[in-house]
Amino acid sequence: MSVKPFDNLKNNKYYKMWFKDAFPYITGAVLLSVFQIFTLASTGNPWGVSGPLANWGAWIYEAFGGSVDKWYYFSSEGARATLENGFLNDGGSIRNIGIIAGALLATLMASQFKIKKIKNKKQVAAAILGGLLMGYGARIGFGCNIGALYSGIASFSLSGWVYAAFLFIGAYFGSRLLVKFFM
């Protein structure tokens, strides 16, 4: 069941360069910078990822009958308006969907899509614990490594550099824990 056109495509120089092989770090950095400048110019806000995720949480909570009206985090007028306007009117949410869809498209184009197996219960525990810590930290720190670090530094904000310093400290202890519990 060999399909000839695709066999040829697999070895095509440009297919390999554009879709199969990872871009060099420099190319990725330049593209990210161009797109984040575009984001800032067109929306008036720097690029962020985890902020909209908190809104997703609020919408899911509300869908199950909960209410975040009294939560301090959502008490500002801006946050309230975003929640009321809904998912489709939240640019950050649409952009996050774009990231997920784009990442999926990229793996499919490279023919590298795979549903990975969960190897052991430790992975599940680590994923849940890690996700909770990252989500909590990103909100309490007013941003993740995109909103607080990347956009922070790009806006000439000192806080971005402070974030970077502590990121390294966190990564150091994180990898020590990783080696201790996963090796």
Partner: protein, 75 residues
């Protein structure tokens, strides 16, 4: 001259790299370590580390999103 297979399918970065570092230290010169990975970032950092150590490295895509990195401990 033996071949050792290191199954890192389903392991996220940097676990395959740390496991490969550990495994290669137990091998003797001339042995080959085959690291099986399905995490595309390990496909970058495992060969990068091995080449920086001066080992011979070859990567084979064995299936969609699955690779085998052959590392020959040549020194």
């Amino acid at each position: 001259m033996k071949e050792v297979i290191l199954d890192c399918f389903g392991e996220a970065c940097p676990v395959p790299l740390v496991k490969a570092e550990k495994a290669i230290s137990t091998l003797e010169i001339g042995d080959v370590l085959i690291v099986q990975i399905d995490h595309s970032c390990a496909m970058k950092n495992v060969p990068e580390w091995a080449r920086a150590q001066g080992y011979n490295v070859e990567i084979e895509e064995v299936n969609d999103g699955e690779w085998e990195v052959f590392i020959e401990k040549n020194k």
